[in-house]
Symmetry: C2
Subunit: 319 residues, 2 copies
């Protein structure tokens, strides 16, 4: 099994991507296809002593999407961006999963475009794992959809449950809805409507989860629109950064690992019809390694099939 890796994606690409990919091949029992400027990628591979003995292939892509670039514009500009070529490898069966630490929006658009959406998914969603006092929980969407309709949040719940089962080993994940108060009537219009849909669904819905309870383990899968979710995780990371600045470095590495996806490798993009993991732009080689291993695990564990069958269950019950 090979993982298609966007070699040009990330703040320190292609160097740390190539280094992380090599480490994934060495340690995670997986092969990698590095997609990007072939000359650049090969010169990075040449820096790695044992690279010729590793199961690494290189596929050339002439262009790359910049980290700050508009995804839609970038993907229109060129058919041969590294993220697009990498996504196509999965769509055509030449790789089993996609990993990118590049422009998140471009990864979402490319994966969606190349692989399509699972039936019933309606929208892809980016999931992240948050630490809680009862263990890890899934928070989604954290950035694939700035605007959502109520039914989307139900789909996110279904997809998040499949991810919680496969990715975190939670056998009976409970679903919560991120809001500003626990009562059903609390929240913005989206949340109030989504609350009704979730309550009337067959899902194990525990009700609204306040932001202060995100880290307390009130639910195993917490759904929200991608704007709110992105603000929530980014502001938490910023808080950790500030803590670190104010109180010194040492003790905080352990904490950063809790809130930073790097340790875990990245955020799975759910809803697209193939495994796709989105890494942080600032990913280290270690984070890249973990992200690729995560993509491999999703492919091996059949995450996509689990999500697809979960979606079958709710299709038609919400619109």
């Amino acid at each position: 099994m090979h993982i298609a890796v966007d070699a040009m994606g990330g703040d320190h690409a292609p160097r740390v991507v190539v280094a992380g990919a090599a480490e994934a091949v060495r340690t995670a029992g997986v092969g990698v296809v590095l997609v990007g400027d072939a000359d650049l990628v090969r010169s990075e591979l040449a820096r790695i002593p044992d690279s010729s003995s590793l199961d690494i292939r290189v596929v050339h892509a002439a262009d790359a999407v910049g980290m700050g670039e508009s995804p839609v514009r970038a993907l229109r500009r060129s058919r041969s961006t590294s993220i697009r070529v990498a996504a196509d490898l999965v769509a055509t069966g030449q790789a089993v999963a996609l990993y990118s630490a590049g422009n998140t929006g471009a990864t979402v658009v490319a994966a969606h475009g190349a692989m399509g959406l699972l039936e019933g998914a309606e929208r892809p969603a980016l999931a992240t794992v948050v630490p809680t006092s009862r263990g890890p929980a899934v928070l989604l969407d954290v950035g694939a959809n700035a605007d959502c309709r109520p039914a989307h949040l139900v789909m996110f719940a279904v997809m998040g449950m499949a991810y919680a089962k496969v990715g975190l080993g939670i056998t009976q994940p409970r679903v919560g809805l991120l809001s500003i108060g626990e009562e059903a009537g609390k929240g913005n219009e989206l949340v109030r409507l989504a609350h009704g849909l979730l309550r009337d669904s067959a899902l194990p819905f525990v009700g609204n989860v306040e932001a202060r309870d995100v880290y307390s383990g009130a639910a195993d899968v917490i759904v929200c629109d991608g704007f709110t979710g992105n603000i929530a995780i980014k502001v938490s990371e910023a808080m950790v950064d500030m803590v670190q600045q104010r109180l010194g470095t040492e003790a905080f590495e352990a904490l950063r690992r809790l809130v930073d996806d790097s340790e875990r490798g990245g955020a799975p993009l759910l809803g697209v019809a193939g495994p796709c993991v989105v890494g942080h732009g600032r990913s280290s080689a270690c984070a890249i390694r973990n992200g690729i291993a995560m993509a491999h695990r999703f492919a091996a564990d059949g995450l996509i099939d689990r999500i697809a069958s979960g979606l079958v269950g709710v299709r038609g019950s919400v619109s």
Copy 2:
């Protein structure tokens, strides 16, 4: 000058409210009107040795709004809730400002109902102060409006600027818009539309501020809808709680003071036609004292007039 204090509001009311109010009278050069169940309040005052020598009056209110109660329902249920009677004292000139650590929604509705809104405000907004590496900044709305229109965010910017000047001494506050990307096109529909209004206004608009830059001082006044703002501050507080649990207690008290409004006393409710400070439900007596002193300062510094004249400037330029 007397501050009207909702003696029944807060997780530990009336005891800590009465204790905090007494401390404010002792140390902040202010008089206080305690509004609530007169027997209960007087029995709490009796526990304070020097209370008879302090400038504290008691006004009876037969009812109180519970912390989890629906604000609209509670205020419809009774005309004599402590928060409503306290707000009326300000509206009728018997007190110069309102302080409550009770049900936030009820405080917003009662203050709005009794004092009315400033011309041009359209909506009240709850402001909070966040620590940044360049000093404090104002974030609003953090919970008064779960759903907003783009023009509301412009009004929030104007009100937040007045607060930054009066409350924080920032002479030329820069305005930012909380979003999930720096570019103008990034964000949800509300943010994209608000971006255009802010850009075309005469306000010192620095553009979108990503959540990761909230604590880095990219702007002095950061505006957002009340749902997003509430999630952002609550999730940050939750993160600090988790940090504390994981890494021990001592060093974190300093940090908690940075992110917890308690030290500062509370969040001003902007837009209503009188000074109003909303404390945390879990406020200690010290936090109550600080909140009342804050309300006093707003009354003494003419915050309301500053906001009113700021609103005159933008009225008509957005709709």
